[in-house]
């Protein structure tokens, strides 16, 4: 099924209709040995971990490649009652923001941490697109360890892309807005005067991973879309795609698609760093939350920060340069050598490839065609290495293999196109089902791509699976790219709506010191119960703290009396197990809350405010042993003035009825 040039032209004319009809039909494009290539026998392990954004689920999911099996989804920006994320007392602070507790977000992209341009298996970073934030997920525990809010920002889309040693993870605003410290009560149509872009450079501490907003660049009001750091020779530079250089604030669909070319913004971040070191950053009052999960106390804290350092790029002439790039660029991807920067204008019908060396020369010689709001605009030809002609329609995003090839996704023509970076010739094309967004090659953004597989994350599912009413799962496809031709080997459904994803060799992640249990001796939770001998119930005024333990298969204590209406009860449950994969759960009737899911050696806290008197059963929700169904207990709630004494017990002989 080849697409001829004529049919490309025809589809171009019909581009808007294309989505309504299926680009290709379901049953073609799969050849005989596909099943064997994606087959991982029962009990065997996959070759790669695939960390996939969960889109509007706000979570990150983890799949195996090539099997496409879902291993886990990790709650990041959205609450998850299953794991108690955002419900238990320990994790509530993780979702705090300057707007208060925000229970949902839209997670778009993943970045795995790097050393010298190669994956190091330590952390995954993720962005929140709605209430602008950046998260760090610890790959030893597969849990979210830190979330930082981004001030001056309208929607953190151009994120979380990182530098060669994860010195910085960037966060560029998608929606320009008046700065947080500027007067924001302005007419919307005053965009040109009052709306600004901000790009945060968030530093990452090499050992702990702790994030800090090192500085922000204040830019003209445009939309920042995606970004990539330079690498190798271009280390020290960052490239951001920008659209809406028309500076429209209404009907962007039309009004932000006027100009023939938008920009890729090249940022000399080493230069910006120098200015910051020289004290040129302007201290700007803002408010943003910085939330950190402490593995030792097993609890999160949220701190509101009050200030950020800002460099206005119009005042520092040698930090930023614009490079014209056709038609609303989305992807802006740097090849493994660091020399080639691939722009993907999502409304364009060609792919421009820019040269780092030529950009440097153009800057040295001031080969500019003018300026945009005071920022120099390099001449297109002076930065251009060459164009891939007629590759397809609607290029979005490009990743690389280790053999000098690039793979670009095409949304409108619903295909992946493989092309050679040096001679810009198209080598192969493969249809996707349907309308691919981002793609992922293991290590495909690094100096050392692992290649082998390519995954297409599609935006439209239609008839790929058994139908499930109006709402469908999202569809991804795995291609074997080890040969000259791409070969589709598997479809797999995904949660939320995956945007970008990254993949790393299983060994790299498995050998990073992964945890199997929390060692109980290292648990420094302030409400830990160190064995059944310490299990107890303590009243502090209206607050009642239950120090509870769980083990196969009972709680201690499991009978509690003397709780009164108006009390706030905190169940601090410590799981005493020390073996892999023996969590216990905890739930109590009527809680306006979720369950606890407590890992071995961990302490979690459920807050419960009884709403009526009576007997309340509680039980373990995680099938833990043959006697799991016996893992239960009772809490007695009495009226506010009652004189039932506070008491707790486990296995106490039944008293005579009085």
């Amino acid at each position: 099924m080849k697409i001829s040039k004529n049919s490309i032209l025809a589809t171009f004319a019909l581009a808007s209709l294309l989505l309504a009809c299926k680009p290709k039909n379901t049953s073609n494009a799969v050849s005989g040995d596909a099943a064997a290539k994606a087959y991982v026998a029962p009990g065997k392990y996959d070759e790669f971990y695939n960390f996939v954004s969960g889109g509007f689920s706000g979570q990150m999911s983890v799949y195996g490649l090539p099997s496409g099996r879902l291993f886990r989804y990790i709650p990041v920006f959205s609450v998850d009652p299953e794991k108690g994320w955002g419900y238990n007392e320990e994790t509530k602070p993780m979702l705090n923001t300057s707007h208060g507790f925000v229970p949902w977000d839209d997670l778009h992209h993943i970045e795995l941490s790097q050393t010298k341009g190669e994956q190091n298996g330590k952390w995954a970073f993720a962005n929140a697109n709605n209430t602008p934030r950046l998260a760090r997920i610890d790959l030893k525990t597969f849990r979210t360890a830190e979330i930082i809010e981004l001030p001056n920002s309208g929607g953190n889309h151009s994120s979380p892309f990182g530098t060669e040693n994860s010195e910085y993870i960037v966060a560029g605003t998608r929606f320009s807005v008046p700065g947080d410290n500027d007067n924001g009560d302005v007419p919307i149509n005053s965009y040109k005067q009052n709306f600004k872009g901000h790009i945060s450079f968030v530093s990452v501490a090499p050992e702990t991973g702790e994030m800090k907003i090192a500085f922000q660049l204040r830019t003209p009001g445009v939309n920042f879309d995606l970004a990539r750091a330079g690498k190798g020779k271009s280390h020290g530079w960052f490239f951001f795609s920008c659209y809406n250089t028309e500076q429209a604030s209404t009907l962007l669909e039309v009004n932000a698609s006027q100009r023939d070319k938008d920009f890729i913004m090249a940022v000399n971040w080493k230069k910006a760093e120098e200015y910051i070191k020289a004290g040129k950053g302007k201290k700007t009052p803002v408010k943003y939350a910085h939330n950190v999960y402490n593995e030792s106390t097993q609890s999160a804290t949220s701190k509101i920060e009050k200030e950020v350092l800002v460099l206005d790029i119009a005042e520092f002439k040698d930090i930023c340069y614009f490079i014209p790039c056709p038609k609303s660029p989305h992807g802006c991807d740097v090849d493994p050598t660091g020399e080639y920067i691939v722009g993907s204008g999502k409304l364009a019908a060609l792919i421009p490839v820019f040269s780092y060396d030529k950009i440097q020369k153009a800057i040295a010689n001031k080969t500019y065609e003018g300026d945009y709001e005071g920022i120099p605009v390099i001449k297109y030809e002076a930065a251009l290495y060459g164009e891939v002609k007629k590759p397809g329609l609607g290029p979005l995003h490009t990743e690389f293999d280790a053999n000098g090839n690039a793979y670009t996704s095409f949304f409108v023509s619903s295909e992946i196109v493989k092309w050679n970076i040096k001679d810009l010739k198209v080598l192969d094309r493969a249809p996707t089902y349907y309308s691919v967004g981002h793609l992922c090659i293991p290590g495909g953004n690094t100096v050392k791509p692992w290649g082998k597989y390519l995954i297409a994350y599609n935006k439209i599912t239609k008839d790929r699976y058994l139908p499930t009413g109006p709402e469908l799962t999202q569809s991804a496809q795995i291609f074997d790219i080890s040969g000259d031709k791409m070969q589709m080997i598997l479809d797999f459904p995904t949660i939320g709506e995956p945007h970008y994803a990254q993949a790393a060799p299983a060994e790299l992640i498995r050998n990073n010191g992964q945890l199997k249990i929390y060692k109980i001796a290292e648990n420094k939770h302030p409400y830990k119960t160190n064995g059944e001998g310490e299990a107890r119930v303590v009243r502090e005024g209206k607050k009642v703290h239950v120090y509870m333990t769980s083990i196969r298969s009972h709680f201690a204590p499991d009978n509690i009396e003397g709780i009164k209406m108006g009390d706030e009860v905190y169940f601090h449950v410590t799981n005493l197990e020390q073996d892999w994969d023996v969590p216990h759960g905890f739930a109590i009737k009527g809680a306006n809350n979720a369950e606890l899911l407590i890992m071995p050696g961990e302490t979690c806290t459920l807050k419960w405010t009884p709403d009526r008197t009576g007997i309340f059963p509680m039980y373990c929700t995680d099938f833990c042993s043959a006697l799991h169904q016996e893992m239960q207990g009772y809490v007695r709630v009495s009226p506010a003035g009652s004189n039932v004494p506070l008491s707790f017990s486990l296995n106490k002989p039944v008293a005579e009825n009085k």
């Binding site: 005989g32 064997a36 064995g531 083990i551 196969r552 009972h554 073996d579 042993s625």
Partner: protein
């Protein structure tokens, strides 16, 4: 027609896999948590010693060491006594009274650091499992922890 071809291709490829793949062992073998223990052709299991890294040569016992026993009782308080009483009464697992006379010191050390394979092989533990219906958990004891708990069990058995 096409579907048929696909199906048979998939069949063929599974056949290929099942012929070629059997002898290869996975580097990361997965322990079955619910092994049956039915097979009688297992390598010889010594019920006096158990299975693990301990035997007469590396578990030496002398006069009761009170300091060690004190450390042992603290660890047991966190990791063990929610299932074991110090008397001969069963809780989740059997009471600990008399365990050091029923079992050799190295058997105990092996069992408490390496319960899973022993539950599958040891006839007496199998019998206990039938009564308790809960598998003795691996509580991730360091060798030292295990030795200290053993000392505490000895102390428990020496007192009346």
């Amino acid at each position: 027609m096409k579907k048929l071809a696909l199906l048979s291709a998939a069949l063929i490829s599974t056949l290929i896999i099942s012929c070629g793949g059997e002898t290869k062992t996975q580097e990361e073998t997965i322990q079955s948590p619910i092994a049956t223990g039915q097979e009688s052709n297992a390598p010889v299991y010594d019920p006096k010693r158990g299975e693990g890294k301990f035997d007469e040569s590396n578990v030496k016992i002398g006069p009761l060491n009170e300091a060690m026993a004190a450390k042992g009782v603290a660890i047991a308080g966190t990791k063990c006594t929610s299932c074991h009483k110090l008397t001969d009464e069963k809780l989740v697992g059997p009471g600990w009274k008399g365990v050091t006379t029923r079992k050799t010191p190295h058997w105990i050390m092996n069992f408490i650091t390496n319960p899973d394979p022993m539950i599958d092989k040891d006839p007496e533990v199998q019998a206990q499992l039938e009564l308790c219906l809960v598998r003795m958990p691996n509580q991730s004891l360091a060798d030292e922890d295990a030795r200290q708990i053993l000392e505490f069990m000895r102390k428990n058995d020496s007192s009346k």
